[in-house]
Symmetry: C2
Amino acid sequence: MEELVGLREGSSGKPVTLQELWGPCPRLRRGIRRALEWLKERLFRVGEDWYFLMALGVLMALISYAMNFAIGRVVRAHKWLYREVGDGHLLRYLSWTVYPVALLSFSSGFSQSITPFSGGSGLPELKTMLSGVVLEDYLDIKNFGAKVVGLSCTLATGSTIFLGKVGPFVHLSVMIATYLGRIRTKTIGESENKAKEVEMLAAAAAVGVATVFAAPFSGVLFSIEVMSSHFSVWNYWRGFFAATCGAFMFRLLGVFNSEQETITSIYKTSFRVDVPFDLPEIFFFVALGAICGVLSCAYLSCQRNFVRFVKTNRYTSKLLATSKPLYAALVALVLASVTYPPGVGRFMASRLSMAEHLHSLFDNNSWALMTRNSSPPWPAEPDPQNLWLEWYHPQFTIFGTLAFFLVMKFWMLILATTIPMPAGYFMPIFIIGAVIGRLLGEALAVAFPEGIVAGGEINPIMPGGYALAGAAAFSGAVTHSISTALLAFELTGQIVHALPVLMAVLAANAISQNCQPSFYDGTIMAKKLPYLPWIRGRKIGSYPVTVEHFMNCTLTTLAKDMPLEEVVKVVTSTDVAQYPLVETRESQTLVGTVERTHLVQALQTESASWAPGQQRFLQDILAGGCPTQPVTLQLSPETSLYQTHSLFELLTLQTLFVTSRGRAVGSVSWVEVLGSQGWPKQSWGRGTPTFSLSKTGRYTLIPGLEGSLSLGHQLPACHSLDLVSLMPWGRHQLQTHRLDHRGCCRCGS
Amino acid sequence: MEELVGLREGSSGKPVTLQELWGPCPRLRRGIRRALEWLKERLFRVGEDWYFLMALGVLMALISYAMNFAIGRVVRAHKWLYREVGDGHLLRYLSWTVYPVALLSFSSGFSQSITPFSGGSGLPELKTMLSGVVLEDYLDIKNFGAKVVGLSCTLATGSTIFLGKVGPFVHLSVMIATYLGRIRTKTIGESENKAKEVEMLAAAAAVGVATVFAAPFSGVLFSIEVMSSHFSVWNYWRGFFAATCGAFMFRLLGVFNSEQETITSIYKTSFRVDVPFDLPEIFFFVALGAICGVLSCAYLSCQRNFVRFVKTNRYTSKLLATSKPLYAALVALVLASVTYPPGVGRFMASRLSMAEHLHSLFDNNSWALMTRNSSPPWPAEPDPQNLWLEWYHPQFTIFGTLAFFLVMKFWMLILATTIPMPAGYFMPIFIIGAVIGRLLGEALAVAFPEGIVAGGEINPIMPGGYALAGAAAFSGAVTHSISTALLAFELTGQIVHALPVLMAVLAANAISQNCQPSFYDGTIMAKKLPYLPWIRGRKIGSYPVTVEHFMNCTLTTLAKDMPLEEVVKVVTSTDVAQYPLVETRESQTLVGTVERTHLVQALQTESASWAPGQQRFLQDILAGGCPTQPVTLQLSPETSLYQTHSLFELLTLQTLFVTSRGRAVGSVSWVEVLGSQGWPKQSWGRGTPTFSLSKTGRYTLIPGLEGSLSLGHQLPACHSLDLVSLMPWGRHQLQTHRLDHRGCCRCGS
């Protein structure tokens, strides 16, 4: 009886059933059941973030692995064909070139026919999206298909075309995340808020990198550095969790497929651990960083100018506009011909795949020293144990081939980036950097064959360490990121060169960040994407540009004492998503906003009961149940450009109203999400890749930047943004007197 | 002549002197001179950030190295004394215990006599500072001296007291940064803005970690994770640059002092590279993470409760209040007695220093397997080649000593944290974690002596890898950070365990973040520092708490049509730094703010020319030149708590005014910087460590949290903050109906 009372008073509060009482150990069983329920409640809530992140990581790993698998088969088939076709030079040449030409023209044609904006790496577009811009359709699942197929074809061309996988993979990952997010929203019937969505996209970007390189740390750092301008630490674990799931799954598949015995790094190295480098070598590492910085500036500048040339040149622009596959085929033919192994390709190790390039370049031993007294023959097939033999030519020597590779790949990569197809540009940059480093390393190894510090134990110089530093520094300089150093360690599984590599990367970044926009910023600039970049300069806080200089003054307000006829007139003549609501027409005191859809609905209901002759006002239908939203944050005309910029960036806002003494005097919008009307379709990729979003007008910008830009119909509000976006790139000094409405921009057709 | 014209038209625009013309190659020389001037201008601007950061890194490295050097000497002297004192147990015991007792009581007494808030690690205080709170004097150079001397004494006690260096070093680094910042401000005569200052402090935090562990990557990640809640990517390079300079200098000094041949990691390991672990071991790594997570929860909970006990217990609180050195000496006596090597210390490897602990724990080979058939003797001195012998006891076995170490150090560390002296708590946590991992690793090595995957090559289990994962997971769980994984790799110079360690850290964090506040948050809670924590929960955006529930409604406004007598009355009766300025007394339309100092000055000037009988108004002196500031950002009463929170946190704001239809209706402040009046002095460390900042009133909080908290005299504005700050820690459900002004807080003495 006492136990029964105890049971009744149990915390569950439920009446105890007889069956429960009759079983053995009722208390224990109930305890276990409760614990299980608690666990179930904590772990198995549908829509929990960690489910989502795990699914994302695993899915992306599967896709990445499947793609690698398929590509591997195609590449093997190509190799087989090339080997079996006999010794006739014509046949060999054809078998070498036809493959990439066919694949590339298919890749370009297929992806462009499905969605015109599936070309390129996608990172610049993602960067703008993460800063709050909504690019409709860009994360569509249709785009996904085009990108997967196109990328597979591009990568199947191997080292001939010399393009990578990272950028598109980040894009794919973000697309999957968006898709999963939509499914989740549908399942749990809860609408996500904007900030949350951006957080998930940042985590997805980390997954993209992690599933390509199996490098979770640098994936997260990459998503911090390259994708976002501001980073919430709250978001940190998401990136790590998803990236770890992705990287683990990716490597696990490799183990299951017997490619490796256990989970290890992709490009394992075996650098000496006890004395990886002599102390004075630090100087050469920093010098290597500086060299990489200067070369990256040259590369970025050439790349940008060549892309501009291709777009403005009469023949190429016409070719690109009308038949992209043909252009791709022509470029592929040029690239494949140059890399034909018995021809020029002999001097640039073109029989190696990109992974083999890296494997060989990270080799410990100095090739120059190894070939000083002997002259190994060129093997008929690349020897997996001695991949470096591909880099050796008796007359040319190691230095000749490395330098030749550098010079040739420099323009070949620039040429390849102009093809409109899905492709990543990080990996080629990384390899070119490794070659730069290797070149310096081999030179040092020859100069100091006994190591630099004389006496004691001899520690010969390891050119592989320089290759590692060069790869990290050059890729870091081109992308303006420091996490490439960490990526280099994660890829090789050794971190013995931590300090020298980091110093090289910092030196390279110091030069390139001061002289050139990064690869991604440059592309954003070339594509004229609406992106809010950093305001540079330390004293900008005291900058005299304020909101009143650039706000949109032509604000359509609805006053509470407006007759309904006038309201109808306003609603039918404009198409903004929400209207600012003011107290009276005279005072213009801002009291809130009203959404167009709600207003239209209320007007329709109202018109049914409209007694003719009776004057009715807006306040009547507002009192009748039309919902209004409060304005939670207001700017003043005196708010500085800098502060506004921070607000928009940090809170990823769309529109803010400007009030002066309570009066609504204007609005500042960055990019307005036009609600049900949707964002006007982009016209990317057709002819000049102008990012035209406008229905109404076009603006030609300050001289010095070709093309035209238009940003929706809230045009005056964008003045400031056009200017801001020119500041860091166009190197235009922002003149205050240019900031009034007519000074800077000329309205034109 | 033609050349002369060409010269005149040169871009310099200066007239060409005759001397220039007469020298050889005038054009070339001028070109070189111009290039040098350009370089000089770019590089040698006084006050450039990178100068500052380099100076900071180098200085901190010097301090860190000098401290290590001095500590090494003291420790060596102690060892010598212990060895030479003979075999008499009493003398040996005395020589073992007197040293730490004397050092610790000196450390505690010295540091506390100079500044009462130099105790502890300083990280919790820094965390609040980086979130925008101004703690006056906390970064004073006087505090610096106390901390350096006190920390050196603490560390010189070696592994007896078992405390670390990281936390105080981060504090020292931030102090140096502040000091350098002041010097810079004086030199270039330019006042820094707040945001910039916070950025520099974050970089300084990275330097602190980097100069202790020579680990720049994890230093930066640590400063991101632990110190800031929001992170600007713009700030990224600063941290890396400063941390690299610091780490490089620190290791360079080691090379110059012939401690090592070249720059390498601190705790170098030599794990097998080809197959570092069998695939199924991943499961054990994750299990290890979970174990570490659970143990960290136990540790955090015990630690918090014990600290509370010490502070509330009659005897200990009295002892702590009156004679801290005595308390320190007593605790030191207990700890030293327990670790006396011929006594209990025999079972817990107490002859090893903390660095040797780590070195031995990261050993590749399984000690259990090595001692299965042989029983090596206990050496008279720790053998540097076989440090692990210290862990072995014939009867106790390896498992016994490791488990005993764990149990003993658990409570010893908790006891040590109660001593009020400068000390870091990261390193002991890290070692305890390594022991947990080692224990599991040894158990697995015994269970699977041939490795887990049967057949093929035998890959015996490396318990060192588990020690690494355990260290990272346990320290990560206690500090709620993931960067400890990276730290483990940087410390050991190998990254072969990347994925398993990261997975262990994630598992540990998942458990501890869900169950306990982090070590730092717990301390912030215990010290009742004014800190704005995260709002947890996903649906908080729709939370119905808005500004009007918690804003300060008693706003003292100055109207433009106020007679001057009334203005004088208001100014003399209040002491806020700035007053909101409204249009008329009736309309209360907010038009700007006026600073108290300016107003007082203008009133004094005005009173000289005051014609009696003439009624004058505020607008007259405003028109007469008293400067006003515009209000750049306004809240509405409808703004949600969540949005306000984000704004304050992201923009590190001090006060925002709330307007409704243009009327100033209230203000929301977080912590007001009281301008010239300064922040009222803190009363830390005396008696109950209540953080009392108020002059006027005290508030007792929601039951469940002892003590009282008061936050300046803008008290009503803080209601929300008190509540917010209780939410994640006190586990109180925030009830909306409690949020009105009287419901939640009782005014009392």
